[in-house]
């Protein structure tokens, strides 16, 4: 049903630079109606920039954009994009937290106005939520700021697919599943398939290659601002995608490393219980990597913060550093440079008496930039000049560089590309071998395989306690859902 000869969107030689950074170096792409188009690439490859051009939020430095055969480059803006049916779900959420779900729908659908608009908005967004995420548990009168990040993501996605007078012809999803657990992600991908089968076009950006391979019709691989491979999905395998992105091919996570013995030999450094009745408690021993699993938003973050704060009722033997997952609200200092963002976690090391030695702090940041591979000319650039994934790497550098015995990680791999992930996994294993303890909340099953011990969370409580040897995907999923649900 794909008909490449009659594209709905045609990009020709699009270029975009931010100062010295060349984010896009002449990209040409065609998007056909009725296809799901996958876009993958390392962090900072230019994927989000390309989508921002497509949705009118950035102007290309050169090149042209055609929609439905019409050249819209001159004066292209979000308004024009919306008029042509181009919708976008951004990498950073863009709901108004002070408005209800229904009111947020009104923001992107100007057609909902006049008498009875509220009823229509409720119906519109409610139906779409039911369609995409059945059993979502969101009321259209909920204020979005009160929702968990996963539910906000659902609202945002449903809003993009909803149709009023302006049709939705092209929906861009920039890492839509990064905050969703696997069940919700599965529902979304199923909806994407239904949607494209109905003739719509979806651009799907994701670092989860399985998702891309399983959902998309065609896949483009980006590297350093250009498209380096473009083919039907069937023409790629996981390994060939990784190879095209320029990352080392993924190796299977180190299997059980015979570290189960840690539980018996090493001292216990963390003992924590969620504030819920009928919960197991979590323990971590020195040098262990402990996984926190379950659907998203089941109390994992709260427990991590509890450990971080040395809250009453938790026993924590050592200094704690945290890697934030929600980097905008929990991690980044937006006015600071990369160097300042990295070194803030370990400032005490750079004191000469009372005064900070900035040179030492910068050298430290530079070292970590190299070590963790942050893509930037130098560490004095503002942190916001980094792509989402690279910002996340800076947060990793902050925590790993800090003089902490215990590192808690709040779903830290959101938006990190495969190559980097492998490097970070290796780094975590090294650090653990040196005696650091990790508490690692993740929504990705693959990552749990890096853990020595896994606790599954449900509704704020710990419901399963699985040593590495006993952990299987089935057992985790089984524990994640209530028996009666």
């Amino acid at each position: 049903m794909t008909n490449p000869s009659d594209p709905i969107i045609r990009l020709r030689g699009v270029e975009k630079s931010f100062g010295a950074v060349r984010a896009l170096a002449g990209v040409s792409l065609d998007l056909a109606p009725g296809e799901c188009f996958g876009l993958v690439g390392h962090n900072g490859a230019g994927k989000s920039t390309l989508m921002n051009l497509l949705s009118g939020n950035l102007r290309p430095d050169s090149g042209s954009i055609e929609i439905g055969g019409q050249d819209v480059t001159a004066g292209y803006s979000p308004q024009v994009a919306v008029r042509h049916g181009v919708r976008c779900v951004y990498q950073e959420l863009s709901l108004c937290p002070n408005l209800t779900v229904a009111e947020n729908a009104r923001i992107t659908h100007p057609a909902i106005a006049g008498i009875g608009w509220r009823r229509r908005a409720r119906a519109l967004i409610g139906e779409m939520l039911d369609r995409v995420f059945p059993g979502h548990g969101i009321s259209t009168d909920d204020v979005t700021g009160d929702l968990s990040i996963a539910r906000r993501q659902m609202v945002e996605i449903a809003r993009a697919f909803a149709v009023t007078e302006a049709e939705a012809r092209v929906v861009i999803l920039d890492e839509p599943t990064s905050s969703l657990d696997s069940v919700a992600a599965g529902k979304l991908l199923a909806h994407v398939r239904r949607y494209v089968e109905g003739g719509g076009t979806v651009v799907l950006i994701s670092h989860l290659l399985g998702e891309i391979l399983g959902t998309c019709d065609r896949i483009a691989v980006m590297r350093d601002g250009g498209v380096v491979a473009l083919d039907a999905a069937s023409g790629f395998t996981r390994n060939s995608l990784v190879a095209a992105m320029g990352s080392v091919a993924e190796t299977a996570p180190a299997a059980a490393r015979g570290r189960a013995a840690l539980r018996d030999s090493a001292p216990k450094v963390v003992e924590a219980r969620p504030a819920r009745p009928e919960t197991l408690s979590l323990a971590a021993h020195k040098g262990e990597v402990v996984g926190l699993a379950g659907l998203s938003g089941q109390g994992q973050t709260e427990l991590l913060v509890q450990v971080f704060d040395h809250a009453a009722g938790t026993q924590v033997g050592g200094k704690v550093a945290l890697v934030a997952g929600d980097r905008q609200s929990d991690g980044i200092f937006p006015l600071w440079s990369i160097s300042q963002n990295i070194s803030i976690g370990s400032l005490r090391q750079f004191l000469n008496g009372f005064l900070l030695d900035h040179d030492r702090a910068d050298a430290f940041a530079e070292k970590w930039k190299e070590r963790i591979g942050i893509r930037t000319p130098d560490v004095f650039q503002p942190i916001l000049s980094l792509s989402g994934g690279n910002q996340q790497k800076a947060l990793f550098a902050r925590a790993l560089g800090a003089p902490a015995d215990i590192i808690v990680m709040d779903d830290p791999m959101r938006g990190v590309d495969v190559g980097t992930k492998q490097e970070v996994y290796a780094m975590i294993r090294d650090e653990a071998a040196r005696g650091r303890t990790f508490l690692w909340y993740t929504t990705e099953m693959d990552e749990l395989r890096n853990c020595d011990h896994v606790y599954v969370f449900r509704e704020g409580a710990i419901v399963a306690d699985l040593p590495r040897a006993e952990m299987t995907e089935e057992r985790v999923l089984h524990a994640s859902f209530r028996a009666d649900a």
């Binding site: 929990d330 991690g331 980044i332 006015l335 900070l356």
Partner: protein
């Protein structure tokens, strides 16, 4: 070329340019007569503004909504209590100074307790508390103006080679504040909190300790200013701090510190303090009536802010 651009990017530049411009305009109007003396006066009075603005700068840097509106009341309370306690006796000066600082610290603790324990927004908390401090000052000595000890009066009005001694003192104070802001854990913490309080907490910064210290520092500086100003102007009056309410904010922001928090600079404070004093002086010299003078003051402040913004988005 790039040096010029770096200079243009400095947040304090516009305040200094503004100060220079109004000073030159005044000098041109009077054919240069007395412009040295004007500068000397500007240094003296600017010094008082800078003392309180240093504290206000740290508070404002803590982030949106953080501001200390109790500065005038704190100055009055510290000024009246210390003057009355010293009773004009030279030997009591150290005690008076300690008392002024202690009152400032107590005011800061009160402010922070309201903000932290009762979770009242700082703008309202400090304003409400200021009424109580003002009442305390009234109750303490019923508005009597006790004279400062002579050595204190001499100290605050002394000049070295035409430069007011107090200005030198405050320049040193500003240097210390600059180092504190840029080179200490505390300064780093303040700036981090101003950008994102939750992220600062999760990066291991002692958020509440730093916030408390900042409100206490600000009030202590206001206490110091009240003490020195009372010494300078021959006694503490109940309304002595009134002017410092809006001026302290204006000096901080014209000086290039971000009202959205997380970004501060000290050199701009001096520039802005001189600018505000010289601006009023210029308009007085031109003989502008009160109404016109206020209109022009407002428009020129806005003009400087517009010039300094350079259209960049920050926040």
């Amino acid at each position: 070329m790039s040096a010029a651009r770096r200079l243009l990017g400095q947040p304090w530049l516009w305040a200094w340019l503004g100060a220079l411009a109004v000073w030159l305009a005044t000098a041109a109007y009077t054919d240069g007569k007395g412009s040295g003396e004007v500068l000397s006066a500007a240094l003296t009075f600017g010094a008082f503004f800078v003392i309180v603005a240093l504290g206000q700068m740290f508070v404002i840097t803590l982030g949106p909504g953080n501001v200390d509106l109790s500065i005038p009341a704190c100055m009055t309370l510290a000024g009246t209590v210390s003057m009355k306690t010293m009773g004009g006796a030279a030997g009591m000066i150290p005690l008076g100074l300690a008392l002024a600082l202690a009152i400032g610290a107590a005011v800061g603790v009160t402010n922070f307790a309201l903000i932290r324990l009762l979770r009242i927004p700082p703008i309202i908390a400090t304003l409400s508390a200021s009424f109580i401090f003002q009442s305390a000052a009234i109750w303490w000595n019923r508005g009597l103006r006790v004279k400062p000890p002579q050595p204190l009066a001499d100290f605050t009005t002394a000049k070295i080679a035409g430069i007011p001694f107090i200005a030198i003192l405050v320049i040193v104070l500003a240097l210390v504040a600059h180092v504190v802001l840029t080179r200490t854990l505390y300064g780093r913490g303040v700036i981090a909190i101003g950008q994102n309080m939750r992220a600062a907490h999760l990066a291991g910064i002692r958020v509440e300790r730093i916030r408390a210290a900042t409100y206490i520092l600000c009030a202590a500086l206001a206490g110091l200013c009240g003490f020195l100003l009372a010494g300078f102007s021959g006694g503490a009056a109940l309304n002595m701090g009134e002017e410092y309410l809006l001026s302290s904010i204006a000096v901080v922001v014209i000086g290039g510190t971000s009202v959205a928090g997380g970004f501060a600079n000290v050199p701009g404070l001096w520039g802005a303090a001189l600018f505000l004093f010289l601006l009023v002086t210029m308009l007085n010299t031109f003989g502008a009536g009160a109404g016109l003078r206020m209109v022009l003051t407002g428009l020129i402040i806005i003009g400087v802010i517009v010039a300094a913004s350079g259209g960049t988005r920050k926040t």
